[in-house]
């Protein structure tokens, strides 16, 4: 049977009905992953033995009637390598943590295991989740399954590529400025960044604490929704987790967008968009209108400030978040260090890659006492202004719609010598906005460009408006993807 083509929910239902055994599918997937990995390099750590052992356990429990309320029990999946897995190496794709073995599970891992997930390994990413191509991984880049000359996007490149290639049925990524949605778009899969505070960050190695969220990457909207249902929820061990009733998102899987109000940033009308993306975009707008939603163009006054605000604040946060990697208690320590100062300087100089160092420098600069008011404090205030404008928007509209990226997956080394261009590129302005304001957002596949590379559409909702984006994504998926 060709498992790789199945969705997670289809597979789970066949496992539940004893048509397929979790053990057989796990064996098949491990074999398939090993075939694919030479070409794609999605995994940093493949859990061949542990995965299979786990499959036997889960299959046994399913046979005993356990996991009755777990729609994804027995399904092999994998996790971005910045999410802690007890006794399993968690590297953040950095030399700094090349051999780091956590002593506890991230909250989301406990939840997935309770739901009968079979974790097959840890997925590649940009180092410490900083980047949009997965090229900054210490372990080398992941390749796009649609065309291996192209990047899979990032930072959750391994998570998106592994699902796109059928290596796993779903995965977890993390998203600080688009790190789930952009690679999902580049790899033709579905990814959700939940509302800030919906999924516990406990055990996620922090990049920018006030932006980071863990979310699912899956083959379609229904699968992604089922995963989100498992991992969501208040966690008293994460002070930024939001205590509220989280009812099931599955009820939003209806093909009904009548009366929904959708806003499109006016600037998309004349932004330098790939022509096939524009075609798809126009088609999407038409689909929504045909299905009874209203679509309007909206002008955002603060949108020019999104990117600088994002880079100032995230760099500041990451500069402190990465300080604990000092070579003292764990992680990389330079073998040449002869005293305390050298432990710090050499371990950090050798343990971090260029992108991480660049952001640490940026962050330290904007937080220094001479620059704090000019950069950091100002950026905090602007974040508030931006939030106000978009909150206003969401009091009138249900969805902010646009292409996830203005172009499709780029070639390797495209931005090698132009980091500023990479940062300033307006391409990710409207993925970043969701993290700046804490909104839920989703990327779903919408056709291909002339090279056969996938195109993604992004739906952003108001805070805790997951059901709105899921409903509108599901409706679009029915029309376009299938």
């Amino acid at each position: 049977m060709d498992y790789a083509k199945m969705t997670a929910l289809e597979l789970a239902s066949k496992i539940r009905n004893n048509e397929i055994s979790a053990v057989e599918v796990t064996k098949a997937q491990i074999k398939y992953i090993k075939e694919q990995e030479d070409r794609l390099s999605c995994f940093i750590t493949l859990l061949e033995d542990e995965g299979l052992k786990r499959a036997y356990e889960v299959q046994e429990r399913i046979a005993k009637g356990d996991y009755k309320d777990s729609p994804l029990a027995g399904v092999p999946m994998a996790v971005k390598d910045n999410i802690l897995t007890k006794n399993i190496r968690t590297t953040c794709a950095s030399r700094m943590l090349e051999t780091y073995i956590p002593s506890y599970n991230a909250r989301v891992i406990d939840k997935l295991e309770d739901a009968g997930a079979i974790i097959l390994g840890k997925l590649n990413m940009d180092e410490f989740a900083m980047g949009n191509s997965s090229e900054s991984s210490y372990f080398g880049p992941t390749r796009n399954p649609f065309n291996t000359d192209h990047v899979p996007g990032g930072s959750s490149g391994g998570s998106a590529a592994a699902v796109a290639a059928g290596e796993v049925f779903y995965s977890l990524g993390s998203d600080t400025g688009g790190s789930i949605r952009q690679p999902s778009s580049y790899c033709g899969v579905t990814g959700i960044k939940p509302t800030y505070g919906t999924v516990s960050r406990n055990g996620l190695i922090g990049f920018a604490s006030s932006f980071d969220q863990i979310g699912p990457i899956a083959k379609n909207v229904s699968d992604a929704t089922a995963v989100l249902d498992i991992i969501k929820g208040y966690d008293s061990k994460d002070s930024t987790s939001i205590a509220r009733e989280y009812d099931s998102y599955t009820s939003a899987l209806t093909d009904d967008v009548r009366g929904m109000k959708i806003g499109v940033p006016k600037e998309f009308l004349d932004s330098p968009m790939n022509s096939q993306i524009r075609e798809q975009f126009d088609k999407v707008i038409k689909v929504y209108r045909d299905k009874g939603a209203t679509v309007e163009y909206v002008d955002f006054q603060t949108s020019d400030y999104i990117i600088p605000t994002y880079y100032i604040l995230t760099s500041a946060e990451v500069s402190a978040n990465l300080s604990r990697f000092d070579g003292i208690r764990y992680g990389y320590r330079s073998p040449d260090a002869k005293n305390l100062e050298e432990i710090y300087f050499k371990s950090r100089a050798e343990g971090f890659g260029d992108e991480a160092k660049l952001r640490i420098l940026l962050g330290s600069y904007v937080l220094s006492s001479d620059n704090y008011d000019t950069y950091y404090d100002k950026a905090l205030r602007i974040r508030r202004l931006i939030s106000n404008e978009f909150d206003d928007f969401f009091s009138n509209y249900d969805i902010l719609l646009g292409p996830t990226s203005l172009f499709t997956a780029f070639n390797f080394n495209a931005f090698l010598n132009s980091p500023v261009e990479k940062y300033a590129d307006s391409d990710n302005k409207y993925t970043i906005i969701a993290n700046l304001i804490g909104s839920p957002a989703m990327s779903i596949p919408c056709g291909y460009d002339e090279k056969g590379l996938p195109i993604g559409m992004q739906l952003i909702g108001r805070k805790f408006g997951e059901k709105d984006i899921i409903r509108s994504a599901y409706s679009l998926e029915k029309e376009i993807t299938s």
């Binding site: 055990g203 604990r324 990697f325 208690r329 937080l367």
Partner: protein
């Protein structure tokens, strides 16, 4: 020297006596095997997140209320970034921009002159671990047991002008914290430590001089010495026409000098910014009121109450309240014995004498108020005399014995046997005819002498009231 005045402000770090640490559930207990009281959170492992211990916030608010501070409704934690091996996250979670309490004051009294010392702010923060250098020639070790122990820092305004004022302020503050029960304030264990910001200026001059900050001072005596030394050092420099460098200095108490630690030019840039892992603290007004209502009676109120309710002189009330522990013993004993002045005397005189003799700190006193109350009762009832009572009290102080049982077992009770006492009285009258003559001629002193002789023969165990009565009637009959 006379031309100059000192201007002093303090930063007082107080370790709070919560059971668990500020951001995790680990125990705050002092000592123990290194790294036995820590977890991934207080060791700064990847992926860990802080969750604020509400008790820390409550203690900070209680301290703020007791020092007349305003409690900030919207407060925040900030990260103070610097690298040091004892600081596992390489940033200390503290409060810079919006500390929990601000603008308070304490009134102190030095030589009968009262003065208000302003409190700039009180903020919460976490303690760091400890480096251990003496275990190995090549390596240092780190013990993270203290990492994440909650602290509050109380920052005063530069309102003090002498070491006496500084010490009066610190003593007052220490007592408040002790009464509130938020800290055990042990200077030796480092749970109460003060940094001193000091500058000098010519008397009458309005603007402040350049200040230095002195760290590492761990006794009141050392504080006095450090202030004297640093003021003189600054004045000498100014007199020589030199300027004072703004710097952090370390007090070396063994050698009685302060040493430059780092200058302002080399001052660290801590790159403070709001901690994104901790949401802003919104302090509910009702909760503050609740804490206010629960505040224990502080010293000033106690002094007034002791004077009013127990009719004690102010002198007694002040001494009894000079420590919460002493006041506790007093109140518990009074509740049983109903004789406040007598209880006060036993505490002020005998208890404090034994504390000195035995080198016992007030918080380590172990005797029970019940036994002191019983002892007072025995004396009052004339069942034992004071000399014996004092001896028994030593045993109560040391071993907390029950005085009633002890008196019975050792037959220390007063002799009430009339016939026996009359015999002794008659013997003494016979043996001291001169005194009898003196008494008859109106010399009162002679009566005391005869009393003394009787008590001596009775080894102090005669009931003095009865002996007095018998002696008088025997003398009358002569």
């Amino acid at each position: 020297m006379y031309k100059y005045e000192k201007v002093i402000g303090l930063e007082v770090h107080v370790e709070l006596s919560t059971k668990s640490k500020i951001f995790c559930g680990c125990s705050t207990e002092f000592g123990g095997r290194p790294n036995s009281k820590c977890c991934p959170i207080c060791m700064g492992m990847p992926g860990t997140l802080p969750v604020l211990n509400r008790r820390v916030l409550e203690y900070a608010i209680a301290t703020g209320l007791a020092t007349g501070c305003t409690i900030r409704e919207y407060s925040r934690f900030d990260r103070k970034n610097y690298f040091y091996p004892d600081l596992p996250k390489s940033y200390q979670t503290s409060q810079l921009y919006l500390p929990i309490c601000y603008e308070g004051s304490l009134e102190i009294e030095v030589d009968g002159i009262k003065k208000k010392i302003g409190i700039h702010e009180i903020h919460m923060e976490e303690d760091a671990g400890k480096l251990i250098h003496d275990q190995d020639d090549e390596f240092s070790f780190i013990d993270y047991n203290r990492s994440g122990v909650p602290l509050i820092e109380i920052v005063t305004k530069p309102d003090m002008n002498s070491k006496e004022e500084v010490i009066a302020f610190l003593e007052k503050l220490q007592l408040i914290l002790e009464y509130l029960g938020v800290s055990d304030c042990k200077m030796q264990e480092g749970s109460f430590r003060a940094d001193i910001n000091l500058s000098v200026r010519k008397k009458g001059q309005k603007e402040l001089g350049t200040r230095t900050e002195m760290k590492n001072i761990n006794s009141f005596k050392a504080i006095g010495r450090a202030i004297d030394y640093e003021a003189k050092r600054q004045i000498d420099l100014l007199e020589k026409g030199e300027s004072i460098e703004q710097e952090t200095r370390r007090w070396d108490d063994a050698n009685g000098i302060s040493l430059s630690l780092r200058s302002k030019i080399n001052a660290k840039d801590y790159r403070y910014f709001p901690d994104p892992d901790l949401p802003p603290l919104v302090v509910d007004k009702d909760w503050v009121d609740e804490i206010r209502k629960r505040q224990p009676e502080l010293r000033e109120e106690k002094i007034q109450r002791y004077m009013k309710e127990f009719k004690l002189p102010e002198y007694d009330a002040k001494i009894l309240t000079s420590s919460k522990y002493l006041a506790d013993i007093f109140e518990k004993t009074v509740a049983i014995s109903k004789n406040p002045k007598e209880v006060s005397n036993w505490i002020m005189i005998e208890t404090m004498r034994l504390m000195r003799d035995r080198q016992v700190q007030v918080e380590n006193i172990t005797f029970s108020p019940e036994n002191l109350a019983r002892l007072i009762e025995l004396v009052e009832a004339g069942k034992i005399n004071r000399t014996i009572a004092k001896e028994i009290f030593e045993l109560i102080f040391d071993e907390d014995i029950d005085p009633e049982v002890y008196v019975k077992e050792h037959q220390l009770g007063v002799v009430d046997d009339r016939d026996l006492l009359i015999k002794v009285v008659q013997e003494v009258i016979r043996d001291f005819p001169d005194s009898v003559t003196d008494y008859k001629s109106g010399k009162d002193k002679a009566f005391k002498h005869l009393m003394g002789q009787i008590m001596k023969r009775m080894k102090g165990k005669a009931n003095p009231v009865l002996v007095n009565e018998l002696l008088r009637s025997e003398l009358e009959e002569l």
